[in-house]
Amino acid sequence: MKLNDQKVIEIKNISKQYRLGVIGHGTLYRDLQTWWARFRDLDDPNAKIFDSSYKEKENKNSIFFALKDLSLDINKGDIVGVIGRNGSGKSTLLKILSKITMPSTGLIRMKGRVASLLEVGTGFHSELTGRENIFLNGAILGMRKVEIEERFDQIVAFSELAAFIDTPVKRYSTGMIVRLAFAVAAHLESEVLIVDEVLAVGDVSFRKKCIEKMQSVSGQDTKTVLFVSHDMGSIRNLCNRVVVLDKGQVIYDGDVDIGIKKYLDINADHDSGGVFEYSEKGGDYPVYISKVSLKNKGGLTTSNFRTYDSIIIEVEISGTPPQNGFNLEWRLISSRGDALAFGGSYALANKTYSISDRILVCEIDSLPLSSGQYSFTLILRVWQQEAWSYIEKAASFIVESPPQLETGFEYELSNSGPLNLIQYWR
């Protein structure tokens, strides 16, 4: 057996179920009932979860499987990209692997130190100085004291914050905090690294530096990385293996390009002619994007556009936004997964919304796109703060580019790239 064929993580038949619905006196009543039955050594009247004879109909409403009988082996040196739609179970898988929550059934075995980065700067305290936070954050992430001391200078140098290292973090700008947090994270020493979409924040040049740092560590074949991202570009750049999840199961495991294509195919199946409705995801915030409509210049709802058409994105929100002054941002994504463009009401038009605003509209003039499928990822939040509602590929649409009159040449996403730029030849 070759060194890099060694399994470092073995996941066997993992399931994770959630009980849906509100917790109230009913839950207490059921809990007491269960407890009393167990106490008398009787069958649990509420043990519907594994009982196959139980009526499926009732069951379906209260139990939701985030992961269903999932098995996976990760070998030493693998850099695995885990991709899937929202709710496909990838964050649940990551949480289980990070030991934040336990699986309902199944077994996972791991070898060596496993560090997980579901967030950067976990445990940062604004009253503490940069130096104190490096030690605290490092310890929370599982670094030993000597390791932090050894790497302290490197971390400070990496963060480019040497001058402010003894200043309380509350005096830092958001960007500085992110840099400090990344610097600690980038110096984690572990055989297995589990990374959630943390690289989505931070400024571009610093993000690049982090990815390079990650790659340089993973270049030696001792490091194994599990990486969740919505950015197909970084998955393509970083990973040598892709696992596609859908409805809590692995639907593809293997080659990166094929995996990405599978993932994009699932997304395409969810198209619905210009109107996209979403239900509450049960996130941390009481507000969510409930409906997205794409309209053409004439105000008709459609998902078919032609090159240089205008497009109107109409976003309906439900619930109560926690505060005034929020904004809507979109990213235009091609079906190949590249991020093509960005739009944000605050960043581009200094426009923010208030609690009473229900429908947010953005009109984009003249889409210079090739034939192909595209989509908008939507983020609702206060600019540069945590997302209240985040829907990747919330609204997808098709662009058709008419062939050039004289030559019949056709701009196609797959051949000529996403952009169809107006050009003059002399």
Partner: protein, 282 residues
């Protein structure tokens, strides 16, 4: 591949995570850093800073001395009322501090707990240690008043062994506070109502403990009931040690120590159970 080579196992069926004390020991640096953080940040941006550690118990003692001593005229076993109340209050403050902090563990620390794994027991342990620092300061002030009163010629007889048993009493209080706190924390994950129950529960518990009255004042029947409260014997032993008066019996001490450990083990078990999945319900 042999089993021995795996260094970590996550098993849905196994329930042995709560016994992983080695993991907690290895995280001692983290405990230190948590204590440091809590202590350093507690009184940041306050004018009086750490003096609050003294003002709180002194004011409470003063109020108790006036209300229970002067107005209600509750006897204090011949101990100067100020010392009597202060001794009870500083021990009780430590206990209720541990209890209240620990019972909110999951809710207070949700942001960290939902993003990274580290031995969860480090949080209650560091909480108890942070509270211990403020207890130590208050204890020193108490010793100051104690020597003042004895030089004044008051009828108090501090015993030399009192200082020796204080650490054991305090460890018992810490374990009890942690045990009850962890038990409550496990339930608050699901039933937030318990937070409100806790708030007045702690107050009621205080009146079931000889803080504002000496145990000797209660009728034998009530004494028996009160001795089922593990804190009763702790307070009485503490007062007996430092001031020479208190209702102490070996039976009460044994009951108190045994029930403390029983509560601690139950609390630990409930906590480790809740910890496995709390993030799904919080």
């Amino acid at each position: 591949m042999k089993n021995e080579e795996w260094t970590q196992e996550i098993n849905a069926e196994a329930n042995n995570r709560w016994l992983n004390f080695r993991e907690v020991y290895l995280a001692k640096n983290l405990i230190y850093l948590f204590v440091r953080r809590d202590f350093v940040t507690l009184y940041k941006q306050t004018i009086l800073g750490p003096i609050w550690f003294l003002i709180q118990p002194l004011m409470t003692t003063l109020v108790f001395t006036i209300i229970f001593g002067k107005i209600a005229n509750i006897p204090t076993d011949g101990i100067p009322p100020f010392l009597f109340y202060m001794s009870g209050i500083i021990v009780w403050t430590y206990f209720s501090g541990c209890l209240e902090k620990n019972s909110n563990i999951f809710i207070d620390n949700q942001p960290i707990l939902s993003k990274v794994y580290f031995p969860r027991l480090t949080i209650p342990i560091s909480t108890s240690i942070t509270n211990l620092i403020s207890f130590a300061i208050q204890f020193m002030i108490f010793c100051g008043f104690l020597s003042y009163y004895s030089f004044q010629g008051d009828s108090i007889q501090p015993s030399w062994w009192a200082l020796l048993i204080t650490p054991f009493l305090i460890i018992q209080v810490a374990i009890l506070g942690m045990g009850v706190g962890l038990m409550v924390s496990a339930f608050t994950v699901k039933y937030r109502d318990l937070i409100f129950v806790m708030n007045f529960g702690v107050q009621l518990w205080m009146y079931a403990t000889p803080i504002v009255y000496p145990l000797s004042q209660a009728s034998p029947k009530i004494q028996l009931i009160l001795s089922l409260n593990p804190m009763t014997s702790v307070i009485e032993v503490f007062r007996f040690g430092f001031m020479g008066v208190g209702t102490v019996s070996l039976g009460n001490i044994v009951i108190s120590v045994i029930s403390t450990f029983a509560i601690f083990l139950i609390g630990l078990r409930q906590f480790s159970k809740a910890e496995r999945n709390f993030i799904d319900t919080v």
